[in-house]
């Protein structure tokens, strides 16, 4: 099985062509609808071949995703989608595989698999829908829930500290880490296109609002009234600016490995004093994903991208180097034999 890195693309398809005939069954107002819409647009824009595209998911609200996309799809078991997707790529590296998971599926029960699929750098687009809650099991706190989250299982508030999905991904050795929001439709489409173009494991955290169990949990940076001041949209090679008219920016505190917010232009610093986003800089990426509202804006966009050879490609290189095979007969007679 040879060996284009991504399948050939086709033209003339629209997002509708990627919608399956299944009725979508998420709660009205769920952020998942917007992510599904964005994904279908991305598929149309890149001209993905339906027959070579595969969506793999685990368990949870987000993991219903494959049923709604008219490609090949596998709704697997809780937390194990990274392993299943790895198997798909090992069997046929030419398939274009998307992995859809959530904060519970990917970071609690499936945390181990997510760690390993990222460090191996299997060529997948990994979409982690983070709503900081267990939706499908009716509202228990999740591994990304903030300390003190009150839920049916933590009536007195949760005691454990949350994991940051992007920090986890960086720590696992991911070569592509990006972030977007369900309601930022065009931003989300662009981020997903970048993820699709990246060879290797591309990790995208999508802040997704659960209207039933955790409504408004991201309002402090997603609400329209604060978005401009509380979202930092990063672009490779561009200064880290945000706020109304780009009046605010980030720079390193002199003498410290620490970011601070400064005013740009009149009454503040010159743009040249700001940090410039370098998506190949892992240390900078670590600082950016650690920014927490309300003190700092939430960093969004492609935070880190530094490609390396993908796992399955290296596996097939080894396979090619091992071949061509002798016959089974030769194998069975290899070593010491004797004739009677």
């Amino acid at each position: 099985m040879t060996a284009t890195l991504k399948p050939p693309q086709v033209a003339g398809l629209t997002p509708k062509d990627y919608a399956s005939d299944q009725e979508v069954r998420w709660c009205p107002g769920c952020g998942d609808y917007a992510i599904l819409k964005a994904a279908q647009k991305v598929l149309a824009d890149v001209g993905a071949r339906r027959e070579t595209t595969v969506f793999v998911s685990g368990i949870g609200c987000s993991s219903r995703f494959p049923y709604y996309v008219d490609t090949y799809g596998f709704h697997t078991i809780h937390g194990r989608a990274p392993a299943v997707a790895t198997g798909v790529k090992l069997a046929n590296p030419d398939l274009d595989v998307w992995l859809v998971t959530g904060d519970g599926d990917g970071l609690s029960i499936g945390g181990n698999h997510l760690l390993h699929v990222l460090r191996r750098n299997v060529d997948l687009q990994i979409l982690l829908f983070n709503n900081e809650i267990y939706g499908l099991t009716k509202g228990q706190y999740s591994p990304t829930s903030r300390h003190g989250t009150k839920s049916p299982s933590t009536p007195g508030g949760s005691l454990d500290h949350p994991v940051s999905p992007c920090a986890f991904a960086l720590g696992a050795g991911a070569r592509f880490v990006a972030r977007s929001i369900d309601t930022l439709q065009s931003h989300l489409v662009e981020v997903m296109k970048r993820a699709h173009a990246h060879r290797g494991a591309s990790f995208v955290e999508v802040f997704q609002n659960c209207v039933v169990y955790n409504d408004g949990v991201f309002d402090e940076f997603t609400d329209k009234s604060v978005a401009t001041e509380m979202q930092l949209h990063v672009t490779h090679g561009r200064p880290l600016r945000f706020g109304k008219d780009g009046r605010r920016g980030l720079r390193l505190v002199p003498g410290k490995l620490e970011l601070e917010i400064v005013t740009v232009g009149e009454g503040g610093v010159a743009e040249s004093a700001l940090l410039v986003h370098d998506e190949t800089n892992r240390a900078l990426a670590s600082l950016l994903v650690a920014l927490q509202p309300p003190t700092f804006p939430m960093a969004l966009g492609v935070i880190y991208c530094d490609p390396a050879p993908s796992y399955e490609r290296q596996v097939y290189d080894q396979l090619a180097a091992a071949g061509p095979a002798g016959s089974l007969d030769d194998l069975l007679k290899k070593g010491r034999t004797w004739r009677v």
């Binding site: 070579t52 596998f74 790895t86 798909v88 069997a91 091992a322 009677v340």
Partner: protein, 631 residues
């Protein structure tokens, strides 16, 4: 090219060799003494000499236990003969004990009058204490029942290798080759294959290679020339007459690896994805297949057992042969994945190299205690076929059969092996590859009338449509699906229909497997001895021995444990009594009783060791006597 070193030709002592029909020898020493390679090389030379043989490597879980301790003793037993050899042997004829710990742990299996070879240099105060001896057994009368050969094996080895530029540590490590040389002399075996092996193994360290060869030759020459005590004899064991053909030795591990490969080719599949997580004693299959990449095998060392089965399932979804392998505790972790493969009806092979449990149990010791887990151990109504290998050579056939069942019925298949089979070796007639069965897979390509759970009317298998096929885009998953469309369905009647369909598909396999045959004896009589898996040899030999005394005893060995062959119940009904020996606390016996309401009785041994023939034979005689059924 490596040129094998010549074998020294010492003057020949004309000892009259005694003829033996068969023999059992055991090498025992510290886990660092190289007893396993010593045994393996003796096995190879014996196979080349044309004997039938069976081996039993028995080693501790510790990689290098503290020197001289009883828990660090590693042993390798080989039974070889001019007649059929079916087990590794009950009693040992010759025991080589490299130190006091090896002696104390193994002496109990040496038959009275058997030959005992010891390295006197290892019987130091310190080693004796570690082995629990208060007095040196070489100095008292405790070893009188045996033919004792005391050799300063350490000093003789050191002398043999002193001309080579190697460390004293490396010199010491040649002792096993000296012992091997002596044993090869004792049974009149060749040394050439071992010399070649040493030369290859130490190609980068030629002095070490030469030293090992020198030690091997010195041990051999010692037997040939030394003034051995008259009670130490040399033997010949004539070749075993067998079907003509090309032979080799095969271990259970090799049998499974090669059988999977043969199955892959028979199914006409391009790719095998073998995903596994290291666990004793299953890892060797991963190691073997990792060396066979050129044959289309992708091996994947997953992050855990769950990832191993799930990646194999993903590979199956994508159209490859998905295989995973483990031992009992790992199979337990794979259980949810098995449920997914059953629900999505994907072909999958799961190999369970059983070991003593529960939990970590005794990882290097054999047991047959995962039968319940394989047949019953899942949530919900989740049947799958279970088959078991009986011998190392049988592993090849059973692995091929697992591929056939998995792909023909779109189902996970559990193949039961065990720690004994994994490590045991036997001579094997290499099959005619062209004559092996073929069962080509037909992937679905027609879009007309397709849905993912459209079924073959005979086998009830669903269509296998792999990603990459235009027009067959579909979604599958663990949620219950409609019988008619494959879409998610919570319809009550549909769930019942799907559950029954899945069960009928697996039950229907019974029509597609050979009827149960009788391995030895008539298809009716007083007593059927019914076994499965690696106990084949012990059961067969025991039944053979008892039959020679007259009683109507038969041996039935079951390969297909789920579903059972369709005639099994009727066959068992033709015997007055059914005895089911197993290396567990009674599992097949319960399945047989449940399936056929037969008054089967168990014979259970849970020691981590294979059955002895005598254990089975005694139990058969006892059952017959109690039942008044002497023939």
């Amino acid at each position: 090219m490596i040129v094998p070193m010549a074998i020294a030709s010492p003057p020949v002592r004309s000892v009259p060799r005694e003829e033996r029909e068969q023999a059992v020898i055991r090498f025992a020493g510290d886990s660092g003494d190289g007893m396993q390679v010593t045994g393996s090389q003796f096995t190879l030379e014996t196979a080349l000499a044309g004997n039938d043989l069976a081996t039993f490597p028995d080693f501790p879980a510790e990689i290098r236990a503290p020197t001289g301790t009883t828990f660090g003793v590693s042993a390798f037993q080989i039974h070889f003969g001019a007649t059929d050899v079916l087990t590794a042997g009950d009693e040992v004829d010759v025991l080589v004990a490299m130190n006091p710990a090896a002696l104390t742990m193994n002496l109990g299996d040496l038959r009275p009058g058997g030959t005992l070879v010891v390295d006197t240099a290892a019987f130091t105060e310190r080693n004796l204490t570690k082995a629990g001896y208060s007095a040196n057994p070489l100095d008292d009368e405790s070893l009188e029942p045996y033919s004792l050969l005391k050799v300063d094996l350490t000093r003789l080895t050191e002398e043999a290798v002193k001309q080579f530029a190697i460390t004293s540590r490396d010199a010491h490590r040649c002792r096993n080759m000296w012992a091997l040389g002596l044993m090869l002399w004792m049974y009149g075996r060749d040394r050439q294959a071992t010399v070649e092996w040493l030369t290859r193994k130490f190609a980068a360290q030629p002095d070490i290679a030469r030293a090992n060869v020198a030690a091997l030759n010195a041990g051999h020459a010692f037997g040939e020339t030394a003034e051995l005590p008259t009670h130490i004899a040399a033997y010949t064991v004539a070749p075993h007459p067998v079907t003509p053909g090309v032979y080799r030795t095969i271990s259970g591990t090799e049998g499974i690896a090669w059988g999977l490969l043969a199955g892959l080719q028979a199914a006409g599949l391009e790719r095998m994805v073998f995903a596994s997580y290291p666990i004793t004693p299953a890892s060797a299959i991963l190691h073997t297949l990792a060396g066979l990449k050129a044959y289309g095998v992708v091996t994947f060392q997953a992050e855990d057992e769950i990832a191993a089965i799930c990646s194999a399932i993903g590979a199956a979804f994508a159209g490859a042969l998905g295989v995973t392998s483990s031992s009992g505790p790992g199979i337990a972790l794979k259980t949810e994945g098995l449920g997914l493969a059953i629900a999505t009806e994907l072909p999958l092979i799961v190999i369970d190299s059983q070991r003593a449990g529960p939990s970590t149990g005794m990882p290097t010791k054999t047991e047959q205690s995962d039968l319940f887990q394989a047949v019953l151990g899942r949530n919900a109504d989740a049947p799958l076929p279970v088959i078991a290998a009986a011998t190392p050579g049988d592993c090849f056939e059973v692995a091929m059969e697992a591929v056939r069942l998995a792909t023909r019925y779109m189902t996970p298949v559990i193949l039961l092996s065990d720690g004994y089979l994994a490590n045991a070796a036997e001579p094997w007639r290499v099959p005619d590859v062209a004559a092996l069965p073929r069962f080509p897979v037909r992937f679905r390509t027609e879009a007309e009338g397709f849905h993912p759970f459209v079924r073959d009317p005979v086998s009830l298998a669903r269509a296998w449509a792999r990603p990459g096929t235009p027009g067959l885009e579909h979604r599958i998953g663990g949620l219950e699906r409609s019988y008619d469309s494959g879409h998610i369905s919570y319809d009550p009647d549909n769930h019942e229909q799907m559950t029954k369909t899945r069960a009928a598909k697996i039950a229907g396999i019974a029509r597609d497997i050979p009827p149960q045959t009788v391995a030895l004896g008539e298809d009716h009589g007083s007593l059927a001895v019914v076994g499965w898996g690696s106990t084949f040899g012990a059961l067969h030999q025991a039944v053979k021995e008892v039959r020679a005394e007259g009683p109507a005893v038969s041996h039935i060995h079951v390969r297909y444990l789920a579903p059972f062959p369709p005639n099994l119940g009727e066959l068992l009904g033709r015997f007055d009594h059914v005895l089911v020996p197993e290396l567990n606390n009674g599992q097949l016996v319960q399945l047989l009783r449940a399936a056929y309401l037969v008054p089967a009785e168990g014979l259970n041994q849970i020691t981590g060791k294979p059955f002895k023939v005598s254990t089975i034979a005694t139990a058969i005689r006892e059952r017959l006597g109690r039942n008044g059924d002497h023939g």
